[in-house]
Amino acid sequence: MRTILHRGLTLAAASVLVIAAAACGGGSSGTPGVTASTVVVGTHQPLTGPASPGYSKISVATKAYFDHVNAHGGVHGRKITYRVMDDGYNPANTQQVVRKLVLSDRVFAVLNGLGTPTHTGVLDFLKTNRVPDLFVASGSRSWNQPAKYPTTFGFNPDYTVEGKILATYIKGNLPNRKVCFFGQADDFGRDALAGVRQVLGAGTIATRQSYVPTNTDVAPQLSTLKAAGCQVVVSATVPGFTALAVATAARLGFRPQWVVSNVGGDKTTLAARLGAAGAPLLDGLVSAGYLPAVDEPANPWTVQFRKIAEEYAPDLEFDGNVIYGMSVGYLFVQALQAAGRDLTRTSIVDAVTANGFTGPGMVPLRFSAGDHSGYGGLRVNRVTGGKQAYVGPVYVTDDRSGPVREYTEAAPTPPANAIPVG
């Protein structure tokens, strides 16, 4: 018995030592993470694990953009430090790393935390600690709850908005075809389907099939779609499963018109997945975007971002993920500038709520006191001859029953050096 007592006390004492030794005080007054010369922001990203391909580039690109801004003097004299934590797309890890960022590293804000299940778990914690939770990297509608989570803001157009716009394209350009749906068996697929139905009508989807990311055999689903005679397949899929679905359909001799969600429709990513032999299958693929495209060599945004990437992250292959990461960085710098020289957590939330940001996205952000969802529209694109180019008008809409409208204002152009002017 004495040994147990002894062990218990040894253990307790040792834990005290271990933890106390690891503990480091970080008490500073004023706004956490902000000094006269620096501002520290953090993020959680899947740098390892099955979700890491593609997505692991985003934070590298954001960081490269911040390096570029820092090299030009920072924002209001402050250099941006970007602390990227790997959560492996595991919500339990997200809990740990976000708390480390907020409580231990004392970041000013969390920027572009990636993933629906991962980020959902830290919403309450960020709210309790009043940490600005900006530009979440996911198209879920959960980020738009201003009453419940006043400091959380989205970035991506949500999946319902996307579904409505893709359906509008189908209605106008692919009339009288048999439309089917293939989607991930979760919110992503469900929200996208809701958007498609909103526009096309509930009874118009001939066949619906779903997949789970843990089962890579999609041949049964695609043979069903083939047997049903689908001519258009709306696909709410992540890139890996878009590639898998397109390749599997091809080997079944099934060549429908693919209409793919933005998150799973980046041609560069898909072509890399399919390899040289499979890439031609992407010809004709329809998707949508809201940011400058890789295949628009003349787009000034693309030119600038490519230049920054070449300078600050030379080994990074330039694709949609890189443009996405840079756009997040650009938007954050805009927000920092709008928040003014006296940077506080309240001032940046107010600045984001006040909105008025332009670029690099081709549609406006929806931020307002009553709306925290990100970009409110997309433009359909199409792969032709190996190039993914925008076609047709830019559309905007909401995530409910509002109409899909054309957005006619000209796309914003980047300032010199692609650094927003304060």
Binding site: P53, V212, S223, A243, R273
Partner: protein, 292 residues
């Protein structure tokens, strides 16, 4: 009917890979009473080697050769450096060591090759051959089935007809007696690990092109299916691994095709429970399964 045939063939092509992977697990289990949890990671490492070789030579076949040779070498190394020393404290320690190796290997691959999916080409077309409008198998599926069948025949000959095979069987069933009879059991175990890792590498080479692509974690799910296959068949029985692998492949295909993809893990659990509650040692756990 057409759909049933399609799902059966699709399931068999996948099941063949699970069978090969399960067979590799059985090889090691019989020799060392260890379930090699690192097998998926070893197989992926071999597939990365093939990726590099194919990239340099432009030939799929040189890559395949490199994967098999790499599998042999990796398996032998793991046995010599880790497993030989890990099994002394208890039956669990080798399992933990294997899990440690999984993390280590996947991390090293991530550092060297990056955490991106790399597409892997197949040597034959994956377009299904159609017979009177029916989608049947693709040439690649036939290649997969043929390769797995060849490996099984080779292993059967090796175990049943050669001196090395006799040594391996004896060392697996009665290591001490084998040593007394002059069998160098240590070397035989090293060879067993090498062979198993090569078979695992082949499974990875066959299955990765049909999945999301080459990635450090590409074989994690295949490991789960292959392990299930081996357990259903009975871990001591190579025949069981083959039957179990094909069975798991077909069941997954039927459930995915008729009930929906999200129901497949539930089907796997039910299959395992049904088989194991009727036969706690797997389908082929009795005496007749003891011969290779």
């Amino acid at each position: 009917m057409e759909r049933f045939v399609f799902l059966t063939l699709d399931g068999l092509a996948r099941g063949a890979v699970y069978a090969a992977f399960g067979l590799a697990l059985v090889l090691i289990w019989r020799g060392t009473r260890v379930v090699n949890f690192a097998q998926g990671a070893l197989a992926v490492a071999s597939a990365y080697l093939a990726y590099t070789v194919t990239g340099a030579t432009g030939s799929y076949w040189w890559g395949l050769v490199a994967a098999l040779a790499g599998g042999l070498a990796l398996g032998a190394l793991v046995e010599l450096l880790v497993m030989r020393w890990a099994g002394r404290a208890g039956p669990l320690e080798p399992v933990i060591a294997a899990l440690g190796l999984v993390l280590l290997i996947q991390a090293l691959l991530g550092m060297v090759y990056g955490n991106d999916f790399h597409p892997v080409d197949t040597p034959f077309a994956r377009t299904a051959l159609t017979v009177r409008g029916f989608d049947l198998v693709s040439p690649y599926d036939l290649f997969v089935l043929g390769a797995v069948l060849t490996v099984m025949l080779l292993l059967a000959v090796l175990f049943g007809r050669t001196k090395t095979g006799l040594r391996m069987r004896a060392a697996a069933f009665a290591p001490e007696v084998s040593r007394l009879l002059g069998v160098r059991v240590g070397r035989v175990l090293t060879l067993g690990w090498a062979l198993a890792a090569a078979v695992g590498a082949l499974a990875a080479m066959l299955v990765i092109p049909t999945e999301l692509g080459l990635h450090p974690t590409a074989m994690d799910l295949v490991f789960v299916s292959g392990f299930t296959a081996a357990v259903v068949g009975g871990l001591d029985s190579p025949v069981g691994a083959v039957v179990g692998g094909l069975g798991v492949g077909v069941v997954l295909s039927y459930v995915g095709g008729y009930l929906g993809s999200d129901a497949t893990p539930v089907a796997v659990l039910l299959l395992l429970l049904t088989v194991l509650l009727l036969r706690p040692g797997g389908l082929f756990s009795t005496v007749q399964a003891r011969r290779v």
